[in-house]
């Protein structure tokens, strides 16, 4: 009996050890220990990432894929190792499927312009969902202006889940791309990406997945999803800002035109014409964010070492605990109650505007996001101008949740 209890109480993660890996977590804000609940905006960095970038700049800095000197070769090797790590991280068939770029926003814009634009005519459709971040809406609106394609939106329910019946009804031959967010940044909803890809296949619709909020919280397997494109932002998964990847299926990457022109992406240049390089180099014009790519590889290695399944299990328990705890606060309404959620609790607190709450919580050392979360259509759906959002990470604890709830009650005492 006691053995069973011991197993049940056993945490899947050694959170105290993980916290030691993140130097910023020992900071104080307004004299209180930092409680960082703004991870969906940008996560913090472990020493492994900070050290990897520091090591690059202090010992190996040089441009990559050029030059034969030692530093150039070391830098190139590190950068390409990071690409291999990222391929392993999302289970891509090869590192040739991994394009380094700035993040999800650039990935979506690249696919929109280099892949979709040459393949569409007026009257064709792009299908996205009501749960998208602006990064998976605005590039398609630009494309619509350029080409005359229509942007169609899969509706969601009051719980913040996609209306799957409506989704199936919207699939047809005119749809030239389905863009779907894996995990909603504003509500935390996890979308059934594999099922959606399968349904899209029946109409030969390529699928782009925005994985920004998924990669820090769960194992991603692009081959199991069978998606055509998968976008990742480094800073959401404990890596550097301005460093991310686009995964693409080989046949598309080979077929696509380049996105940006310049150095690195060519084999041969004359003033008459240029011969483009093979993918992924074809999409990597100019000197990239080398230290960022290396740091991103370090963050992926860190997550693989901790174990994404264990992270998922720990965070699911923490999210359930937090959901229960915040509901004890009078006047608190959770926005987004999907059955399958990750990391995020978006809410309103009666009588307190999110921005006042953000300021008051900051004085208790708690960092949350307040506002529209770059997902204004979601705010419009729930008829709120803004929400407050706590977003959890693997280094957050139940003790922090308790202190957060106390701070919420304090805000009520001051303003409500």
């Amino acid at each position: 009996m006691s053995a069973v209890i011991a197993v049940e109480n056993h945490s899947p993660l050694n959170v105290e050890e993980i916290r030691k890996d993140f130097p910023i977590l020992s900071r104080e804000i307004h004299g209180k220990p930092l409680i960082y609940f703004d991870n969906a905006a940008s996560a913090q960095r472990p020493s492994a990432v900070i050290d990897a970038t520091h090591d690059f700049y202090s010992r190996r800095n040089a441009n990559i894929h050029r030059g034969v000197h030692t530093l150039a070769e070391e830098a190139t090797a590190l950068y390409e190792q990071a690409r291999q790590t990222m391929a392993r991280f999302i289970n891509a068939p090869s590192d040739r499927n991994v394009v380094f770029l700035r993040g999800v926003t650039e990935g979506v814009n690249l696919v929109s312009q280099a892949f979709v634009r040459p393949r569409v005519k007026p009257g064709d459709q792009i299908l996205v969902t009501h749960l998208e971040h602006h990064s998976n809406i605005v590039p398609w609106q630009l494309l619509a202006k350029q080409t005359g394609v229509e942007l169609k939106v899969v509706p969601m329910t009051q719980a913040g889940e996609l209306d799957m019946d409506a989704f199936h009804g919207m699939l047809n031959e005119r749809v030239k791309l389905l863009g779907v967010v894996h995990v909603s940044n504003a509500l935390g909803t996890i979308n059934p990406v594999a099922d959606m890809v399968k349904a899209a296949r029946e109409f030969d619709i390529p699928v782009l997945v925005d994985g920004a909020q998924a990669t820090p919280h769960m194992a991603v397997d692009v081959q199991a999803f069978d998606c055509d494109f998968y976008c990742v932002s480094g800073h959401k998964m404990y890596g550097p800002t301005g460093a991310g990847i686009l995964y693409g299926k080989s046949r598309w990457l080979e077929e696509m035109e380049p996105y940006h022109g310049g150095g690195e992406m060519i084999k041969h240049v004359t003033f008459e014409e240029s011969v483009f390089n093979e993918p992924p180099a074809k999409f990597e014009a100019g000197t990239p964010n080398i230290a960022g790519g290396i740091g991103l590889g370090a963050s992926a290695r860190y997550l693989l070492d901790v174990g994404l399944d264990r992270i998922r299990e720990y965070e699911a328990g923490l999210l359930a605990y937090a959901t229960e705890a915040v509901q004890q606060v009078e006047g608190l309404r959770i926005i987004g109650t999907a059955r399958d959620k990750a990391s995020v609790i978006s809410f309103t607190l009666e009588g307190i505007h999110p921005h006042d709450l953000g300021t008051i919580l900051d004085h208790s050392g708690v960092a949350i996001r307040t506002g529209h979360h770059c997902a204004m259509p979601i705010m419009q759906f729930f008829e709120v101008p803004a929400t407050s959002r706590m977003s959890l990470a693997m280094y957050n604890t139940r003790d922090e949740v308790d202190q957060f709830v106390a701070a919420l009650n304090k805000a009520r005492d001051i303003l409500a």
Binding site: H353, P354, D356, T359, I360, T370, G371, M376, A386, L415
Partner: protein
């Protein structure tokens, strides 16, 4: 900087019980103050007759700072000439920039309760939003945005 300094009693009181929180029946001027990033969205209504603001009101959803600033504004500018109202707006800006002397404080009266936002750059915009909407209304502009 303490929370009590930001959320002074007068600010909390105006936020809970905003004055002139309604739409005027036949406003001569109106405009909307918008800060999409913060989710502040208010409408300001003015009834101006022969260069004098006869009455002012507002409606909307916004942070306590914006609500209190708007509520105090509608009280303060009623019966002022347009020029006097704009002068009050300039004085408030001086206060928020930390340039207020005693005479200016006396002229601003209750609006001095907004002074605590000085330490919060992102909240200064919130305090100024209703006043920008008032100016926009007087200039016959439909919208005033702080972004």
């Amino acid at each position: 900087m303490s929370l009590q300094d930001l959320y002074r009693t007068a600010v909390i009181e105006h936020n809970k019980n905003p004055r002139n929180f309604l739409e005027l029946e036949n406003p001569s001027h109106q405009s909307r103050g918008l800060n999409a990033l913060c989710g502040d969205d208010i409408r300001v209504y003015l009834s101006v007759d022969e260069d004098r603001i006869q009455s002012a009101s507002f409606l909307g959803q916004a942070s306590a700072i914006t609500m209190a600033s708007a509520s105090m504004m509608t009280v303060q500018i009623a019966r002022l000439t347009v020029g006097e109202a704009l002068q009050t707006c300039d004085r408030l800006d001086q206060l928020l920039q930390g340039e207020a002397d005693e005479a200016l404080r006396e002229a601003l009266g209750e609006l001095c309760a907004l002074e605590g936002v000085r330490q919060y750059p992102s909240r200064i915009k919130a305090a100024r939003l209703p006043w920008q909407a008032m100016k926009a209304a007087l200039n016959e502009q439909q919208i005033a945005s702080t972004e």
